[in-house]
């Protein structure tokens, strides 16, 4: 709790160069409901953003021991968020409803999550509730083919906004949507022609936030590639301590290749545990008091690079004695080409 209220939500808006992040933000921020939203941007792009709580941050990353990029602390972000917190607590700005952090096109969103979760002050005052990724309907396929950062951005997304659908071929849009679904079956996908979208829908967490129930991929299988996703459940309640041991071990050994893990785990309590992580960075797991849906079975999605679904399932199978339940794949296992 911070000042008698829960933590301030932070939304990360990411997307490849020219995918329409700034256009989308420009439209959304002009809505009256967004007046108490602060915006942190890395660059003032050609499309000028006009907003009274706009701050520019110069990306200054501090690489921590081990040299892992996703465990980098963004000092610029720490300073900017602490300044906003100070202004908010002093009452010098209207009550802060939300902070939007716009990344550069080439940015990996994981360090932003790490910065907020790891900072001793920020972790008590801010929480990342949503990662929004914009994908350009015209060049999206090309970006996904050529840039591993683009695949990471899609894997990290809770919501994907496909932009420029008004000027793209309908068949190309359908193919892209299918590809996005295969990379990240847990993300909620929206289309935004002309940068038009509803702010309320964009930032609404129902069905898309970090507590959302991931769904199994039900599209057509893709050719084998580097990035694989697998949705799975368990045949019973999972021992949370054992799952924490397995996942922390996996993330230490292969964290840079585990692009995303997201799901709800039945741990034998009245509600599930929300598990959500991007590479080495895990959201603080939340033990819910009740299930958000009628279905009370675990559902978890792994998106990994260079790790085959059968390797993950085989590992969980080997750990079943510790976990107390056997893993079962959900839907079609799939892989997507990344190059």
């Amino acid at each position: 709790m911070a000042g008698g209220r829960s933590t301030r939500p932070v939304t990360i808006v990411t997307g490849f160069l020219g995918s329409g992040k700034t256009t989308l933000l420009g439209r959304v921020l002009s809505e009256p409901s967004m007046s108490n939203t602060a915006v942190l941007v890395n660059e003032f792009g050609e499309v000028g953003l006009d907003h009274h709580l706009l701050r520019r941050v110069d990306e200054r990353a501090v690489l921590l021991g081990g040299g892992c990029v996703c465990c980098t602390t963004r000092e610029d972000l720490v300073e900017a968020l602490l300044e906003l917190l100070d202004l908010d607590q002093r009452g010098e700005i209207p009550r802060l409803d939300r902070v939007v952090v716009e990344t550069t096109g080439l940015a990996d969103p994981a360090p932003i999550l790490h910065t907020i979760f790891a900072d001793p002050v920020l972790q008590h005052h801010f929480s990342v509730d949503l990662v929004l990724t914009t994908v350009d309907a015209i060049n999206g396929d090309l970006h996904l083919d050529r840039n591993p950062e683009s695949v990471k951005q899609v894997a990290a997304a809770d919501k994907i906004v496909v932009t420029k659908t008004d000027v793209a071929e309908p068949n190309a849009v359908r193919s892209l949507l299918c590809r996005l679904g295969a990379i990240n079956p847990s993300a909620h996908v929206l289309e935004a022609a002309f940068g038009e979208t509803d702010a309320a829908e964009l930032f609404r967490l129902d069905g898309a936030g970090y507590r959302a129930v991931p769904k199994a991929f039900d599209g057509e299988p893709h050719d084998a590639g580097e990035t694989h996703s697998v949705s799975l459940t368990f045949d019973g309640s999972v021992d949370w301590t054992a799952f924490g041991i397995w996942l922390s071990m996996l993330l230490y050994a292969r964290g840079e290749d585990v692009l995303r893990v997201k799901g709800l785990l039945d741990v034998g309590e009245s509600g599930p545990v929300v598990v959500n992580g991007v590479q080495h960075t895990i959201h603080p797991p939340e033990h819910l008091n009740r299930w958000p849906e009628e279905n009370h079975h675990s559902r978890i999605v792994f998106i990994a690079r260079g790790i085959r679904p059968e390797e993950l399932l085989g590992s969980l199978e080997a750990f079943r004695g510790l976990l107390g339940a056997r893993p079962l794949p959900l839907g079609a296992e799939q892989s997507v080409p990344s190059s």
């Binding site: 081990g66 790891a118 001793p120 972790q123 021992d239 949370w240 301590t241 054992a242 924490g244 041991i245 397995w246 922390s248 071990m249 996996l250 230490y252 050994a253 292969r254 545990v273 895990i282 959201h283 603080p284 797991p285 033990h287 790790i307 390797e311 993950l312 085989g314 590992s315 199978e317 080997a318 750990f319 079943r320 004695g321 510790l322």
Partner: protein, 124 residues
């Protein structure tokens, strides 16, 4: 570090310890601290037992150390103190001389923590 009790102040709680922290924070005023401590001790003992099922494949052993840290050692007498699971795996890598990978086929060849076969046969 506290000069009186020798305990580190931990600014960052590892995500696997978060539920214990949350439980303590949400406890109603006046709730029994002994019960919370008991929960915490049981949780740590359970974690040590499960982790040792994995570590024995690498010739390592873990013990609880005063309820605040863990003591990791190998068969040669080398040891390290670790705070949580986040610092356990790098320390285990240093002592074992290789990364402990749950996807490693050698580890997958054996099912961890499975009850002995005769128990299952009796149950059937």
């Amino acid at each position: 570090m506290c000069v009186l009790c020798g305990q580190d102040f931990v600014a960052q709680v590892h995500w696997t310890d978060r539920h214990l922290e949350d439980r303590a924070r949400e406890a109603a005023p006046g709730s029994d601290p002994v019960a919370l401590q008991g929960d915490r001790r049981r949780d740590r003992a359970h974690r040590v037992a499960l982790t040792n099922e994995i570590l024995r494949h690498y010739g390592l052993k873990l013990d609880d150390w005063g309820g605040s840290k863990y003591f990791l050692r190998d068969g040669k007498g080398r040891s390290e103190l670790v705070q949580d699971l986040g610092s356990l795996w790098p320390a285990a890598e240093r002592l074992a001389g290789r990364t402990l990978d749950p996807l490693e086929p050698a580890l997958l060849g054996e099912t961890l923590g499975e009850e002995p076969a005769f128990v299952a046969a009796d149950g059937g």
